[in-house]
Subunit: 162 residues, 2 copies
Amino acid sequence: MLVLGVDPGSHVTGYGLVEKKNNQLICIHSGQVTSSAKIPFYDRIHKIFKAMAEIMERYRPGEMSIEDVFYAKNIQSSLKLGHARGAVLIAAVQCGVRIFEYTPLEIKKSVVGYGRATKEQVNSMVRIILNLKTTPKLDTSDALAAAICHINTSRFKSLTKE
Amino acid sequence: MLVLGVDPGSHVTGYGLVEKKNNQLICIHSGQVTSSAKIPFYDRIHKIFKAMAEIMERYRPGEMSIEDVFYAKNIQSSLKLGHARGAVLIAAVQCGVRIFEYTPLEIKKSVVGYGRATKEQVNSMVRIILNLKTTPKLDTSDALAAAICHINTSRFKSLTKE
């Protein structure tokens, strides 16, 4: 089953599609939805919704893995993050993609083996696990890490009856 | 021109459609999108998006007026509010409804004449201004107040060339 991992943000939303084949995790496609701070905020949020819906329609992942956010730097950044995360969730429900949420701790632990790993450590491990030729950007590796975390959990295993 | 005012929230999203006819403000329709805390959060957010898009498709407002949020009680509530507000903005962009944002101070000042008015004071004034026969719920009157504020501003007046 193809799993879409997403790391939402109002400036950059990272995404990555990961599949398990012959016990090997493969990155099918990954990238970022970026938008200029010059365009109105509501257009940026709509762009995230539209881009994510297009990716879901094109690749038809069965499931989406996304970080369950409990905190942000401050009220302002949590408001903005909420808008962006909402856009991703709406696209998933709209496209019939099942949503699974994991805490940052669960994702880091699943990928690096350590819940307080840095973004750079996550990046290095994602590159090794997926055997990537180039180093992904940090938001993309966070998204891929969410997908890897989901594939490695019992919730995914029970669904795919491994 | 028909103006849609919205007061977004993850539990209750109030909305109200207001039109100016013969120098009188008329409430065409108003209500609330509510969702049980028992259904998954992402389904609640999608419900807001779907319901608001349906209202916009049915009534075809030219413009939407929504509170510009700068703060919330805490990080958790601002994250949730961000999701709900994002759902409303995406529906508006999707339906081609122009978005106008006003601070709570601007809205209260426009309706009550006092920027620090309570929700109850806003409710009473909205009922008087729109000549409503019944008392609207507080989230609905906040939404109607946003619509009234927009119609009373120079931004609206310059568009409709009054």
